[in-house]
């Protein structure tokens, strides 16, 4: 729908009221967003969220003729072509911090509206998933054992916005390919730890160091993690260094964390109203 409106906008640039359609589109988008948030919170003011300044007005990964784009965590955006992910694509995650990277990618891609399903992660720490920012109202967990597993996974790939496949799933290569095909049709993002076949983008993470713990004192605070990406649309090998988890359990870029310690961060209250 967004694409149609935009095209309509471009066509009517020469007419008498160049900004009328534009204003209509913006009004529709605003009403849609308001209604979405009202639907999510049951029409009530349900929680007051705090967001750092500047994060709220992030660039919407818009439609550019390449299909819907999904956002990725800010600190990791350099790794991805165009700084975003195509809906319906797949990402494989390998290395030391695979669970944390999976969760942070899922949080960013699920955004404000999509549902997220986790499969084959029997030992997932659910509190860390919630700390990473996953909305428990839009989160489902599928244990997926038993003979119905292919059908269940296919149903999930059809229905949710983000499908996370854990490392303990032990998929057959044929099932992996069929899941990717389904996800491509349904615009579902597939995030998988050590999949049995090719994925569009492969991320590999290496722990650099842990901070916060001393000899018999302190507590774990941050991990410095190097993440590198290879795959479709990436020339060679890109690498960034991030903090995952930072002290709150989320992802942060390692350079901004250094800045933040020196200057006071402004918090902007954002009220989730119905």
């Amino acid at each position: 729908m967004g694409m149609n409106l935009q095209m309509a906008t471009r066509e009517t640039v020469h007419t008498d009221h160049p900004d009328r359609d534009d204003r209509l589109a913006r009004a529709r988008a605003t009403l849609g967003a308001a209604e979405r948030s009202a639907a999510r919170w049951g029409g009530r003011i349900d929680r007051t969220a705090l967001r750092t300044v500047g994060e709220g007005e992030h660039q919407d990964p818009s439609d550019d003729g390449l299909g819907t784009r999904l956002s990725v965590p800010g600190p990791l955006s350099e790794l991805f072509p165009r700084g975003s992910l195509r809906a319906g694509s797949s990402v494989a995650i390998e290395g030391a911090a695979s669970t944390s990277v999976l969760l942070s990618l899922a949080v960013a891609a699920a955004g404000e509206d999509s549902w997220c399903a986790l499969a084959g992660m029997p030992d997932l720490g659910l509190r860390s998933a919630l700390d990473a920012g996953l909305d428990p109202c839009r989160l489902a967990h599928a244990p997926t054992h038993g003979e119905q597993r292919p059908q269940v996974l296919s149903a999930l790939a059809d229905g949710v916005g983000v499908l996370v496949l854990g490392p303990d799933l032990d998929l057959a290569p044929a099932l992996w390919r069929s899941l990717l095909g389904r996800a491509r049709t349904a615009d579902t993002l597939v995030l998988a730890a050590t999949p049995p076949g090719r994925a569009d983008i492969t991320l590999r993470s290496t722990t650099r160091s842990w901070a916060g713990l001393g000899a018999g004192s302190g507590r774990l605070r941050t991990r410095r993690l190097a993440v590198s990406a290879t795959g479709r649309g990436i020339a060679g090998n890109r690498e960034v260094e991030v903090l995952l988890p930072q002290v709150g359990g989320m992802i942060a870029s390692s350079s901004s964390a250094r800045d933040a310690s020196s200057e006071v961060r402004l918090l902007q209250p954002v009220r989730k109203a119905g």
Binding site: E35, S100, P136, G146, T194
Partner: protein, 567 residues
Amino acid sequence: MMSVGTPATRTVAVTVPDWPLLAALDRHQRRETEDAAVAIDPATDPVILLDQHRVTHAGAAAREAGALPGMKRRAARAACPEALVLEADTESESSLFELVAAAVDTIAAGVDVLRPGVLLMSARGPARHQGSEEALAERLLDAIAELTGWDAAVGIADGPFAALLASPRGRIVRAERSADYLAPHPITALRSAPVGPGWGHRGQPSATRPERRLDLAETVDLLQRLGITTLGDLAALPSAAVADRFGPDVATLHLLARGEEPAPPAAHHPTQPIQAETTLETPLVRTDQAAFIARPLAEELHTMLVERGLVCTRLRIVARTEGGEEMERTWRHDGALTVADVVDRIRWQCDGWITRSRLGGPATGAITRIGLHPLQLAPAGESAPALWGSAGEAAQRASRAFARAQGLAGEDAVQVPALVGGRLLADEVALVPWRSEKPARREGPWPGSLPRPVPATVFRELPPITLQDADGRPVVVTARGLLSAPPARLLVTAPGRAALQRAGLRAGSAYPVLVHGAPTVIDERWWAPGGARSARMQLVVRGASDEETAVLALSRTGSWALEGLYD
């Protein structure tokens, strides 16, 4: 049902005095048709009604002779030996009262039977139809006398409590004067307040409030001891103070004493209960049979709901077995439960039960009866699709997928997290089947809970490890919560944990501990015999891949295990 008052509705209360006695008498007379000539008039002939060997009601003549409610059978018989003794039967009381309700139905709609002997309805419409409230009361009395032959009493007032108190005296309290009418009544009048068990929609507990037994006699006694002797005294108290001191039940009584009425819960209560039940001719022993039975039952319920323009958001499915055992399960739904949803839930419930009995659970016998009872109904308009854009579209798509997955592989195929609270990481968040009732959250505080960041992998079965100091002796946590020696090496003892292998911690190998925190002691339920003392500690070890790996170790009864892995 908290102390939020709404402007009281003009209410008609129709009561039949001594209804259990009349019903029992009626049953007695119908049974002994040969004695029908000897008509018994409870006003002149002594009659007493017993329930579980205690007198619950006594006719006027019996009371005069000294047989009072509350006496034992023997004492009552001694006081009034010539009295006719009847046994109470709630079933027949309710069914016989339907006659009275039907008689009232011929005059006015929206009749609400509070309990056998008492019914309420809104006065405004019927009174306008009949011309005046006096005319309405007269017509009601006439209709009941004509169609059933019993003498009823009618009271009209603002709010149900004033109407109930007015009805035995046949009073019509003027509009907005309910508080003045109630004020001089003694506090014992609260005993007839329409709250607590036994009141409400045909004896069903309220769907919105967990039913706690409110002992009215005890409450009245307490208030009397506090020097509150009339309803006016009670009404004069500030409502916030009443709610704080006595809780929500007495706050409701306070509200009633002020002549207001509690705001009804937002959910819709039909005047006629909506439910679908079926008795199975051949008892259920296989799962596929359940599916055959479930569909017509679900369709019946759905038709009933559609006719009334309602959707069901909470449904209770009750299955009764040959042995008389009832298994019930409540299912909640944020949108509307469709026929397919209901069929699936019936099937799962039967499936679970059949599986349990096959696995050698307690023998209960086959399922003979299945009932669907909607607990929460809402007008259908609220679940209409969105106006602008795609609100809720993603949720609908996901719910279709989850319903399909659950239909394929059972209700456990899709689970959602529910925060329940606990000391250990694995206990903090529970997974419950999608769309089933979530467990209540246990409010903390949970001392010793782990500060952020928390491990991304939390083992449900803790893999055992050994911590050794520099000399190779095992490290333990002392009774004072200190380490016996700083750990130098971590040894994974049990094989076969995939998550550990991926993190570079292989079974049977020892890894050097780089840094470690101080142990945090968790005293779980130290006051109870089942309590356990444990300690947890964060460690960073150098794994096989030469990377730093952070783990959370838990010491229990002297041995270490891994609780979580920061991967």
